[in-house]
Structure formats: C-alpha cells, structure tokens
Symmetry: C2
Subunit: 362 residues, 2 copies
C-alpha cells in the first residue's frame, strides 16, 4: 500500500469550520460540528470523519439538511425530553440534545433525550466523552439506514446502530465504550472489495441469506450479519442490540425506524413505500454519579477496575488486555503527533469541496 | 434422551412459596421470590429456575443470605437511587429496587437504581416485563461471578452479565430483550461435558487462552468467550457489554466487581485476596413513555415494528424471523399447557429440599 499523505488535525479542523460556515452554519455550530467530525479522524474512526464532509455539504446544498435548525423540545418531564432536530445536521442537533440530557441530570439526577428529524451525528463516543468530561456517565445511540439482517433474516433491516457509554475515571482516562451492533463495520467490507480480497466468514450474507466470504455479494443485495455472526454463536444477541437502538431512537424517538431509514447520501429522496417517522433518531443519556455514590470513591473504583482488567493474563499472541477506549486513545496519540493519513480519494474530495466553497484546503 | 417427568407450573410455584416461607421469608416475599424463580422455568430458561432452589436454601440455612433483609435507599435524587440489599436473596431485593425505579419514573419521568449487597436475582427479563406491564420501558442488569474472559485475556474476569430491556406494545406482546453478554450460556457447556460431546469453536477457551472444542477445558481453568467469539468477529464488543454491566452494577453500585464477585454457591466463604464491594450488584431502569411520545401512538408504532420485522424474508432453513421475546413466549405457551420438564437430578434435589423443610413436593 502506498504511503498516505498526512494532515495535521488542526489544519483539518480549521478547514471544516470554514466550510461549514460557508455552507450557512452559524459560527458556533460550525466549530461544534467540526469538533465532532475531526474527533473521528483523530481517534482513528476514519469512516465517520472528514471523508464525510463532501456528503454533508451535498446534504446542505440540496436543501435536505437545514443549516440553521430550530432544535426544540416537544415533550418533557423532569428527567426526560423528546427533541425535534428540524432537519439539521446530526453534528449540530446531537450536541444540543446531549446538553439537554446533561442539564436534566444536573437537576434531576439523570437525563434521557430522544431526537427525531436529525441526520448522522458522527461518532457516538464523542457525546459520551463530553458527558464523562463533566463527571457524568454518558450514553449515546443512533439508528441508521438498514445494512444489517436480523437473526434468521435474509434482508437488511437495521443500521449498524451503535451503542456508546462513557464513565469518568480518576487518574485513568475515561472508560469509553463505542461499538456498532453488527459483527463488523460496513467500511471493512467496502475496503476488501476495493482490494479484491475475500472477507472472513461471519461478516456478511448474500442476497439469499447464505454466509459468504465475497465482499461484493454483501454490497449487491446481501447484508451485514449481527454481532455473534451465527445462530450457534448467538447472533440473536447482536440482533437484540440493534433492535434496542432502533426501538429507542426510531420508534420511541418518533424518527424513521428499521427498513424505513433513508440512506445517508442518495442523489434524491427515494421512496421506501411509506414514511414511519422523521429523519434519523438518536438517544442520549446522562447519569449523575453522586446520585449513587461519592464521586471521589467512584473515580477511585473505576481506576482500580481499569488496572485490574489491564493486568489480566493475556492470551497467546496478545500483548496485554485493553480497557474500552484504549485503542482509540492510541490512535489519538499517534495522530495528534503525526497527523491524520487520508486516502487519495478523500483528499480529492476535499479539494472539490475547497473549489466549491472557496475555502483553501492547503 | 429419556423422557423427562413434567410438573405443572402451579405445583412448582406452590412448593417454592412454602419452602421459602419455611426458610424464614415473610409470606409476601416468599410469593414474590417464587414468581421470579418459576418464571424462568415457565419461559424455558431452566438454568435460572427451580433447579436453583436447593442452592438458595443452602444460602439461607448457612446464614449467607438474609431471609428478612432491610432493603434501604442509601442515596437518591429525583430520578436515581442507590439501594443496599442487606444480604437478602436477589429474588426479594430485586423486585423492591425495581419498584423504586418504577416509582421514580412515575414522579420524574425516569428512574435508575443501583443495588449492592444482593444475591442472584433470577431472570433479568422478569423485571423488565413487570415494567412493561405497567406501561414503562424497563431495564435490568446484574453482574455475576467471573466465567467470561475479556477480549485478548486468558482468565475469567466477568460474569455472563445479562442485559434486559422490555418495551410495552399494543396488540402485540411486549418486546423483551434478555441476553447474556457471553457467546453462550455456561449451562450449555456443562451439558455438553455431561453428554461427552464436543462444543462448537467460539464458545470457550482453555486455561492457556486457546480456543477449544473440549467442554472440560473450559471448566478446568478456562473461560467462556465474550459475544463475538473471536477478534475478527468483534469479541471486543461482547467484552464491552460485559464491562458495561459490571461498571454499572458493581463499580457504580458499590457491589463487588469483576474477578472479586463470589461464586453463587460455594461451601464456605472463599478468599479472593481482597474485597472491593458488597455482594452482587444490579442496575434497574424505567422510562415513562409519555415523557417522549403519546403512549397510544408508541404502542401502535411498536406493533408496526414487530409486524415489519416478523415479515423479513427468512434465510434458508429458517421458518420466520422472530422478535425479541418470541422464543420465551413459545416455551411459556408449551409449559403452561404441558408442564415443566425437570431432569432427574433436579427432581432428586427438590425431594431433598422437601425432606429438609417438611414441605411435601408431590
């Protein structure tokens, strides 16, 4: 593989801020949206980072995303709220809804917020890290367009529907769980197809619902498999997790759900037969530690837990056992020092965005 | 396999109530505990049902479980509480904590309760069905003694740590998610060893951390694998889920966590080096629907979701796609009509309990 060109995180962040401003976002929202987008690149989750800037711009340019949404609470109790995102970017709507969850936690001990009428919100981990930085246990989920088959099914019905939960620590960094509920990320299948490599069994099925190692089959009528991969290994559990996210974000949130969630980027609105809700749905939560335990005691217990689990005897061929969030922190340290490597196709897209917006890229 | 003797659900329930009363539980608690225990047998989750009655009696007889616990709130906010179970049976402590979560949801929109100093609480699904029957979205988790290795580890560090969430529906039955976070239940490995059968790859590792198909290896120094089974298939996600449960129930709850959780039944207290908290920990939650959406609209949307997912084109060799909770409901219909089949060893145990307590079994 040829060496990729790398770009400093700050350069990418500044570029995204100016592009979003040019696309009509208020300056504060542009910075917030750039923070989330570039956090993905910094943490090594390239599929959710700056490679999505061009599609976001197309959503804004075509009018299918609202650059200045009126994000509003449509129902609430002391500890819960339902939010309408007014068709804004998830990168703008998500932080406002997350802030509502955190404010409710401050007042009532916990806060739980559904969101409808939003778009993709970047990496779920961003939101729970924001909560952990404030000393809260943060939760974030989102549904997405269907790519994953239910257990026993032969058609994509659920998104990769991530679940993220973050816990503040003491001397240790926060514990950050951020996981899709499919066996593997869609991006890995796309890359294997591009490189002409077969993929492991357990990742995808073909259009007839048969397991296959051909990445092309998954992209032409097939589907990703839920976490667990096979009946024998408990793929009904991955299905349950994907369903949980869809039921909270889509059904409870009042957004579209299951097979009725529109793809992230299509050239025009497509007709899925009927409309069951508005846009993408999210679910945010925040729990105040002192509602359960002295926060200093909790932070010491989390540190103890992290150190105990890192000290687990490793299996053969494994250096050491990690704690949730460690892999992304390693990427973050590397990329903060050495920049973010971008594929030539992504750089080409950013040059197009630069031309279209008049914001210099380099 | 010889045909097993079956017993009517009502007979088992009545027997358990009288045994628990004889062991010193107040009558109301004895009925509550029997409801949960026998719900497992009725729903086909035999490992959590009446086969545990004898061990529960031994816990009570030896003084390691408190038949009349003073279950009390030790911290609280409008929507959260920390509960001390006073060493009671989880079957008694769990419902009281779950009731606190539901009452807080009535008042504040949601309720979230940690529990320390408890014991095993039966099937997690029982608690979320109780919430769904009251029109709430219910959550229940518990940690347990270590049987599952973390991703990359070669020692058991986490319990099978189940996650349950239940959603009330309209004309459809409630959607009930209730899943362990390991690839497979420990009981299936025990049964394979008893029958002298190999087990599929992806279930367990041996004491050196190598995958194996020998069930005996898992029971002699090995461990269960987390959901996902291998690095390639995302077993770090199963590890994350098991960790989530341990962090909420154990670390936040103030109970023991990870490798320091005591086994369910040991002949005496064992020394795990140090004590990091008290007893088993649970986590309960309840969300009021009308904090997010009109409840009638929500129930109609859940029904729509269930019907849409059941209509997914099935894979080859699959009759139809199910909705979470369907398999247990099928078992419930069968066992309500035909009784609960019990293995001879379980019947023998119940006869011993009968002799010890003077409660007639048949």
């Amino acid at each position: 593989m040829p060496k990729l060109q790398s770009f400093p995180v700050e350069q990418l962040h500044g570029f995204v801020v100016r592009v979003f401003e040019r696309m009509g976002l208020p300056p504060g929202d542009a910075v917030q949206a750039a923070d989330i987008l570039v956090a993905a690149d910094r943490r090594g989750i390239d599929s959710h980072g700056i490679m999505r800037l061009k599609p976001y711009c197309e959503l804004l340019r075509s009018g299918r995303a609202n650059p200045r949404p009126n994000v509003r609470v449509i129902r609430e109790t002391a500890s819960t709220a339902a939010v309408d995102g007014d068709g804004g970017l998830g990168l703008v709507v998500g932080p406002r809804a997350n802030a509502i969850a955190m404010a409710k936690a401050d007042d009532a001990g916990s806060g739980w917020v559904t969101v409808r009428n939003s778009q993709h919100f970047g990496i779920a981990g961003y939101y729970v890290m924001a909560a952990a930085d404030r000393g809260l246990i943060g939760w974030a989920m989102t549904n997405a367009a269907p790519q994953v088959a239910p257990a026993g099914g032969a058609a994509p019905m659920l998104g990769t529907n991530p679940i993220a939960v973050g816990f503040p620590a003491g001397a240790e960094p926060s514990v950050v769980i951020d996981m899709a509920t499919s066996a593997v990320a869609f991006g890995k299948v796309v890359i294997a197809k591009r490189d002409g490599r077969p993929i492991p069994e357990g990742w995808v099925m073909d259009a007839a619902g048969r397991p296959t190692t051909d990445p092309a089959a998954a992209l032409t009528g097939g589907a990703l498999l839920p976490l667990g991969s096979t009946a024998e290994r408990g793929y009904h559990k991955g299905y349950c997790l994907g369903a949980l996210v869809d039921l909270l974000c889509g059904v409870l949130g009042g957004a579209a759900w299951g097979p009725f969630v529109l793809p992230f980027l299509v050239p025009q609105r497509i007709n899925l037969g009927r409309e069951v809700g508005r846009g993408i749905g999210h679910f945010f939560g925040a729990l105040r530690i002192d509602g359960f335990m002295d926060p200093a005691e909790f932070r010491a217990r989390i540190d103890d837990w992290c150190r105990t689990f890192r000290a687990t005897p490793p299996a053969a061929d494994v250096d050491s056992v990690l704690v949730p969030g460690d892999p992304e922190r390693r990427a973050e340290a590397d990329r903060s020092a050495n920049g973010v490597p971008l594929a030539p196709a992504v750089v080409a897209d950013l040059r197009i965005v630069s031309e279209q917006t008049g914001v210099p890229f380099e």
